[in-house]
Symmetry: C2
Subunit: 228 residues, 2 copies
DNA sequence: AATTGAATTTGATCGACGTCAAATTCGACT
DNA sequence: AGTCGAATTTGACGTCGATCAAATTCAATT
């Protein structure tokens, strides 16, 4: 069941406006972008597009999570990226080919904004602030993706998990607690791990003062985590 | 020894003009880009910038190869990307932060073009075709980096090597031969492997009709390689 | 052709992580 | 509180690739 052109909830609107894509836009450009945009609510595990399809739109997650993944010949899935609220995906097809290069599906109930590639491409060529928004979005996205390659190649499972926890902890070194915004299996995919490996990484981190109960992660000593 | 503001060899010039960065530029924009550019020849294993330094330029490889890499706490290096002639690197810092996020060093004698971030940033805001060039470059780069994540997470060492060979083979299915443009240890880094693992992957591929002699790789049956 | 340092290959070993199966826990709903 | 299916954890095991060391090959130079 797809609920197109839904009215934006104020929460979703707030997320949308903080996106690198829209946050820098002036009145007129903003209006034009919003005009070509359509908002859709999707149920869990609903496909948004598939690898190899002709690309006609890119998306911004407003609520929930979207999984970008590939399949190998035997049908095993590997996540390439997990998109959180505020993340844009497939915007690289604005200037990088005309077919989707991976599958996209919701990881849970999600709301996404859809932008026509052709329309945005034209606007980016007319309005400088839109071009700038595209460049900002692509730059950020590229940096985090390179970060991901480095993380995969350099760190073990417990280190990746520690890293992830640290990115969501307050900066000071004392104790802290965070709550995962999604299932652990999704976190496993983000970190390039099997769910079992994530579970074992958490139990390895127990000796560093990390306690996990459901989605709540308690960190005894943030500084100690940095040294894993 | 650094040889700044070298006159461009005609070969280097040809590479430069085929870059997504400059290939789409009109007369005036092209002149302005070339004016802010400086060309440098560097010896083997010369550092271009280091992680954490303030970023003031991005680069385009004209000749040779440049390694982008990170270190972990124990000092082990992991390559994030190998830049070939025509590749641009650190251009994501145009709109994505002001510090270099990884180390860059030449993998062998190399010639690179250097572009001031600030100057290009300003030009990108003035000239639409320069903005477009930036977007194209970022898009391509992002796609290949996501490809890299997928490759790492989905494929074994022999599959990655087969993949690499296939990207440099003629499309038809018959026998073919290619010559590596660099040392095997560099290829290993590109594929996220230790040199020993690359060597073993090649010997695994022997049973698929791949013969390696020095830098020359003979492929008996391209179609068979696709099925590894 | 001989020399020599670097690159690559090979062998042996080890640790990390994937996979499969079974046990347990979680969480939504009655 | 009780039920039931899904998510997570745990155990057992296998495989892949990293690492270290030693042998071999390569390639530039004499």
């Amino acid at each position: 069941m797809m609920n197109s052109n839904l009215k934006l909830s104020s929460r979703d609107r707030a997320v949308l406006m903080k996106t690198p894509f829209l946050s820098g836009l002036s009145g007129n450009s903003l209006v034009r972008m919003l005009a070509t945009m359509s908002v859709t609510s999707l149920p869990t595990r609903k496909s948004i597009f598939r690898e190899g399809e002709d690309a006609d739109a890119f998306y911004c997650v407003l609520n929930g999570y979207v999984r970008l993944y590939r399949l190998n010949r035997e049908g095993r899935e590997a996540d390439i990226r997990i998109c959180a609220p505020g993340d844009t995906f497939a915007e690289c097809l604005l200037y990088g080919g005309n077919k989707y290069r991976y599958h996209a599906q919701t990881a849970e109930t999600a709301t996404v904004a859809r932008f026509e590639l052709q329309a945005v491409r034209e606007m980016a060529e007319q309005e400088k602030d839109i071009a700038k928004a595209v460049m900002t979005s692509l730059s950020r996205h590229l940096l985090t993706t390179m970060e991901c390659v480095a993380n995969d190649r350099l760190h073990t499972a417990p280190q990746r998990v520690a890293n992830y926890i640290l990115t969501r902890c307050p900066v000071d070194g004392g104790p802290a607690a965070i709550r995962l915004p999604f299932q652990k299996s999704l976190l496993a995919g983000m970190l390039g791990l099997a769910p079992e490996a994530l579970s074992r990484a958490f139990s390895t981190l127990r000796k560093t003062g990390v306690t996990v109960r459901g989605r709540v992660i308690q960190v005894g000593d943030v500084q100690a985590l940095r040294e894993v």
